[in-house]
């Protein structure tokens, strides 16, 4: 009995586990691996797909575009379908991490609305297909506010915030938070002018003492619990929260807000590119797509799905904004070297 025995035990344990995994580690051919947002697809859809194609869909979850990019950039493989947002598609294309799509294998691409084809980040839809979309604006609790917010001023003017001190949150995201401030000041969310960004920074610094939190994850919880009365956030979260409490509303401020898409794409490292095409095509079927919209309450880029979408969703202006509001929405684009101005402004806001 010596130490060597203990060591050989450890070595054997580790080797044993590695060996076990080596046998089990191979991917089964009848599986498709998704790396998507949590609760983003109605599980019933997976069942229907399995029924029709005999392929099991396995979902793994990612919380943010940044984590998705980080993992793919680091060389992690094994994912067949991802759902990056617009700016993340641009970043992934730049790094050569997205496989080229063969649209001939996705006939249901024709269901995609004309206004969602060829968007700025992928002008020929060579790598991505818009799937769901949404906006960034202000969610609020109608019972706790005297008058509903209509303008970014409600979120930025100290005179209006005074009443709701420590009851308001902003997204913990430099482009979104500075973007909202830029919008309020009448500039573009993609401004590259140092003075405009400086002005937006000062606006956020003046707002900070009134905020309860910078929060991109739990603001809907706090809005429902009554601790927040107003929150800067994404439309879909408020639509879901509204199911829980009808007093939760969402508005795109009159100055305009941000529009974004989530897209279906295939990483270059996927071993099942054929199958991934089949699944994307399946998701674009009108009825399947409508099922997902009814489940998630995010608007879809799919025109053919509209007849199957619940009217209460389709006619809800906070989910499907009317055209005159849509014209005031802006994409958050890549701003080139100016991104350093945003980074710096955000560091100053968050570090003080």
């Amino acid at each position: 009995m010596t130490l060597t025995r203990i060591y050989s035990f450890i070595a054997l344990a580790v080797l044993g586990l590695v060996g076990l995994e080596a046998c089990a580690g191979k991917q089964a051919p009848h599986e498709l691996h998704l790396f998507i947002w949590a609760n983003y697809i109605d599980p019933e859809v997976y069942r229907l797909f399995e029924q029709e194609f005999g392929v099991k869909v396995i979902e793994e979850n990612v919380d943010s575009n940044e984590t998705l990019i980080l993992k793919l950039q680091a060389g992690v493989t094994g994912y067949d379908i991802i759902t990056p947002s617009d700016y993340a598609v641009a970043a992934l294309i730049r790094q050569g991490l997205l496989a080229e799509l063969e649209l001939s294998k996705i006939p249901n691409f024709q269901n995609i609305s004309q206004r969602f084809r060829g968007l700025y980040y992928d002008p020929q839809n060579r790598y991505s297909i818009p799937y769901l979309w949404g906006t960034t604006g202000i969610g609020y609790n109608a019972q706790k506010l005297e008058s509903p917010p209509t303008s970014w001023a409600d979120l930025f003017e100290p005179s209006r915030l005074e009443r709701y001190k420590h009851r308001v949150s902003m997204l913990d995201d430099p482009r979104e938070a500075l973007g909202a401030a830029l919008k309020y000041l009448g500039y573009s969310v993609n401004s590259t002018d140092p003075q405009q960004i400086e002005a937006a920074k000062n606006l956020l610094l003046a707002q900070k003492p009134y905020l309860a939190r910078y929060d991109s994850e739990t603001y809907d919880d706090f809005l429902l619990s009554g601790d927040l009365v107003m929150a800067h956030g994404w439309s879909g979260e408020f639509a879901k929260a509204r199911l829980e409490n009808p007093a939760i509303r969402y508005v795109i401020p009159q100055e305009g807000g941000v529009i974004w898409t989530d897209n279906l794409a295939i990483p270059t490292s996927s071993q099942k590119i054929e199958l991934a095409h089949t699944f994307i095509d399946f998701l674009l079927r009108p009825q399947i797509n409508a099922r997902i919209v009814n489940f998630l309450r995010y608007p879809s880029a799919n025109d053919a799905a509209k007849p199957y979408i619940l009217p209460e969703i389709l006619h809800d202006p906070s989910i499907y904004p009317p055209d005159e509001i849509r014209e005031r929405l802006e994409w958050i684009r890549d701003v080139g070297a100016a991104v350093q101005l945003y980074e710096r402004a955000w560091e100053e806001i968050k570090s003080r």
């Binding site: 990019i69 980080l70 009851r167 309860a212 939190r213 739990t218 968050k350």
Partner: protein, 276 residues
């Protein structure tokens, strides 16, 4: 006993699975991030030069230092009597009390944070109670809220090492001292506490140092309004405008600073043992 045979398994493990990944982090810290987020490999000190900026140190690092120190002191004050109380019991009761310290942590971090949300939220009953007492403390989104969360999360890391050293002490020494006329306080302060110093130091190391790089608790309970160095680093990896090279440089500088302090401390310790 041949020391090398004790050393090599753990050391080899850490070289392979820690030093090599750390080397990768070092390489990243020397690289250049282009405006489009791409990393261009190379060797440059630019990220370290950017760290000369006082913005990173005054707020975030200063806060981390103060909160780490406070967390350590508060957990020591709260934890020492507990470790002492456990160590003086015997048999099943001792083990039961010990397990009760760690039991809350057999749940899940996020679930516990949410429980703290419920307790600390402005419409919650603690805030209501405080308001009734005339205190309007914003607990969530304030350094105090972060401190509460940190002390909660790190208390076992103070109590367990303390317990492990106090348990070994010979309490008959205390009785002997008392027989000789020392008060309990004197016998504790002159005999027990000095003998449990290694435990105090181990607890302090396991609380102070990880808190310096802590980011989840400050992010959630601080609501992004309490700047801390760990949060800054996390944002450089998982934020909307990622900057891995800068984040890597920040982490390495933080680690070097801590090592310098630790090295000084170990140096002192060795000298004191030499003399003693």
């Amino acid at each position: 006993m041949n020391a090398r045979i004790l050393l090599w398994p753990g050391f080899a493990w850490l070289v392979l699975f820690f030093a090599v990944p750390l080397g990768i982090i070092l390489l990243i810290s020397l690289a250049h991030r282009a405006p489009d987020g791409m990393i261009h490999w190379g060797i440059s000190a630019e990220n370290y030069l950017r760290l000369l900026d006082p913005l990173y140190w005054a707020g975030p690092f200063g806060n981390s230092l103060v909160l780490a120190a406070l967390t350590t002191i508060v957990s020591l004050l709260l934890g020492y009597p507990v470790a002492y109380a456990i160590a003086r019991r015997s048999g099943p009761v001792k083990n039961l009390l010990l397990f009760l310290v760690i039991l809350p942590f057999f749940t899940n971090f996020l679930v516990r944070i949410y429980a703290w949300f419920i307790l600390l939220r402005p419409e919650g009953w603690i805030a209501w109670l405080l308001r009734a007492l005339g205190l309007d403390l914003g607990l969530l989104g304030s350094p105090l809220g972060v401190l509460i969360g940190l002390v909660y999360g790190y208390l076992p890391f103070m109590i367990l090492p303390l317990y492990a050293t106090v348990e070994r002490l010979d309490f008959s020494l205390v009785e002997a001292a008392q027989d000789l006329g020392a008060s309990r306080w004197q016998s504790f302060w002159r005999i027990i506490f000095p003998l449990s110093r290694p435990g105090v130091i181990a607890g302090a190391v396991l609380v102070f140092i990880p808190v310096l790089g802590e980011f989840i608790t400050p992010k959630l309970l601080g609501g992004g309004k309490v700047p801390m160095f760990g949060v800054l680093i996390e944002e450089k990896f998982l934020g909307r405008v990622p900057d891995w090279p800068l984040g890597a440089a920040m982490a390495l500088v933080l680690m070097s600073l801590v090592l310098l302090v630790l090295a000084r401390y170990f140096h002192q310790l060795k000298e004191s043992r030499w003399v003693g």
